[in-house]
Amino acid sequence: MKATTKKILAGSVMAAALLAGSAGVLVAQEKPVIATVVKISGIPWFDRLETGVKAFQEANPDVEASQSGPATADSAQQLQIVNDLIAKGVNALAVVPMDPAVLEGTFQRAMERGIVVVTHEADNQINTHADVEAFDNDEYGAALNARLAECMGNAGKWTTFVGSLGSRTHIQWVTAGENNAKQHPDMELVDPNNESFDDANATYEKAKEILRKHPDIKGFQTSAGNDVLGVGRAIDEAGLTGKVCLVGTGLPNPSADLLESGAITAIGFWDPQKAGMAMNAVAKLLLEKKEVTDGIDLGVEGYNKVSVKQGPGKGLLVIGNGMVLADKATYKDHLF
């Protein structure tokens, strides 16, 4: 290294050191900050959730609410965002965990620092103050399967899709679905728990494979928000619309075409907008040191009388009543 480069090196290091020294003056946060972190950014489901966060922000100008999330579906990336937000000094975290187990250590550290942690879609999270669920997961899985069984005439081969084997709620839904299907001995489950990674294209490819492998398959029960789109497209292209039933979690707007064509039998969902508002509402209650009691009204549609139970850890389990099942005839009531 020549002298000049050494000078530049030394100069920049000194400049950084100076800045570090002057950094002692922290800008005081006047409003409590609630940071929402979703599984993945830029997909319709979590875009809708963000509208809820924004609506909550408008209704509650005394807090600062915002949403972020990783660009790729990887629990390690979500973990980094949560770590950075904790370091940034937010007052409350409202997280939809990609993988609850991976976040336990970080949540524990966050709670030790006095940060309020609220989760969603993770009723096995141990280190959380409150987990907000839109509905009872077993009931939802059973309801999806009941709709599927009705369409299949209670007989034939069927399979299930989950976002990933680590997505706890997805596994719960398909397990509840499997239990429901046991009432119908003619329903035969084949190749269950296909992983979709919430990617419509990958799901489409996988669904095509399954349709080739089991030409006589009658039904699909899917879990992640984009699965109905991928499977629906595969059914549509194979010309099996009306012959193969498809019931799964999905959003009305993206599914509209396939619902109209009949490739999707019915979609089940809860409004992520309301869930986002409810998460933030619970976080705000906890920030204000108020108690979340059984039957409390969170001021959000579907969460007007939530049931509050003891969660798996020290935290609470807050269950709303936000389940919606929509088909061709009814989806227009919920366009988002």
Binding site: M1, K2, A3, T4, T5, I8, L9, S12, V13, A15, A16, L19, A20, S22, A23, G24, V25, L26, V27, S41, G42, S66, S68, G69, P70, A71, T72, D74, S75, A76, Q77, L79, Q80, I81, N83, D84, L85, I86, A87, K88, G89, D99, A101, V102, L103, E104, G105, T106, Q108, R109, S164, L165, G166
Partner: protein, 341 residues
């Protein structure tokens, strides 16, 4: 050293710039002790994997290690399953931690050695070989864990690796720096380092010169595997649980870090300190964007931009161009002196 001193200068300058920018955006809280600690404890996982990639790249002949994160996960999962079947994490905390570390490092070493043997003995192209072992390692981790997260818990020693500080520096970061230092020393002061770099520069000449080619290759991939094992320990210590699909995005990021650090993809040159600085730069940038509340898609864009900048620096001697006084002699890079670490 002469040729790529500019790379190190650029990396240090970028790091300082990012720190300054962070301070400006966050009104100082970016440079708070807690955030510095938080960022420091996030670097080791990916940094260790990047050093592994660097070693494989230096070996030349299209050397690369794609199996890094898969092996790290396998080490964590296998170790958690094996050790918790023998010892209890809550009762014999210290013994549990030691056993966990031993099994994880051994798994990493063995996995890496398998890579090395396949590449050296069977002459399989590294990218294909490690792609295959990556899937095999992931598959094995799924089978061992049944696809679920495996609980490690917070036994005494592991918990302090994941959470505690030594003189205000996270212990995981110290482990990372120690591992990096050891490898840098091995590359600079042992015959292994010289062999590795010369072999990467010209494999044919290395064979005719009587280098222990197979030995060097196996050692290189085994080292890379051991680093993955250590990364697995740090992941387990920080996250309390281990899972087969953790960090699927790390694969490309580790390669990005290595390339940004000026490691030659065609082999024969790489400096550990540059890889460390480059890993830190990526961490600073991603934390900075999270602090600024910017979308994570912006981060991908920024990383891409940063990579292109560094490729340009490496190729066009940008530092010399900007500061003509320090123009360096270009073209001496192929000399053995480029093994400087």
């Amino acid at each position: 050293m002469r040729r790529t001193g500019g790379q190190l200068v650029m990396l240090v300058a970028i790091n300082c710039l990012l720190l300054a920018l962070g301070a400006a955006i966050s009104g100082g809280s970016f440079l708070s002790l807690f955030n510095l600690q938080s960022m420091a404890s996030q670097v080791p996982e990916i940094g260790l994997l990047a050093i592994g990639v660097m070693l494989a790249m230096c070996a030349g002949n299209g050397g690369i290690d794609l199996s890094g994160i898969a092996l790290a996960n396998l080490s964590g999962v296998l170790s958690a399953v094996v050790v918790s079947s023998v010892l209890s994490g809550t009762e014999d905390q210290f013994a549990f931690s030691l056993a966990f570390i031993a099994v994880a490092v051994t798994t990493g070493f063995v996995g890496g050695a398998i890579n090395g043997l396949l590449i050296a003995r069977l002459d399989i192209t590294p990218i294909l070989c490690t792609l295959g072992t990556q899937m095999a390692f992931t598959g094995l981790a799924v089978v061992v864990s049944g696809g679920k997260a495996v609980m490690v818990g917070s036994p005494a020693l592991l918990s302090s690796i994941g959470n505690d500080m030594f003189l205000g520096v996270p212990i995981s970061f110290l482990i990372f720096i120690a591992a990096a230092g050891l490898i840098a020393a091995a590359l600079k002061f042992t015959p292994y380092g010289l062999w590795l770099m010369l072999m990467g520069t010209n494999p044919k000449a290395a064979v005719f010169a009587g280098f222990p080619k197979n030995g060097v290759l196996v050692a290189t991939y085994a080292l890379s595997g051991t680093l993955s094992g250590i990364a697995g320990i740090i992941i387990a210590a920080r996250n309390v649980n281990v899972k087969f699909d953790y960090g699927s995005s790390y694969l490309l990021i580790a390669i990005l870090i290595a390339v940004m650090a000026g490691v030659k993809p065609e082999g024969g040159y790489g400096r550990v300190i540059c890889v460390v600085m480059s890993a830190i730069a990526l961490q600073l940038m991603s934390s900075l964007l999270n602090f600024g509340g910017l979308s994570n898609f912006v981060r991908d864009f920024a990383w891409g931009l940063l990579l292109l900048t560094f490729l340009a620096v490496g190729r066009y001697d940008l530092v010399g161009f900007l500061f003509p006084g320090s123009r360096q002699r270009v073209g001496s890079g192929a000399k053995p002196s480029s093994t400087g670490t």
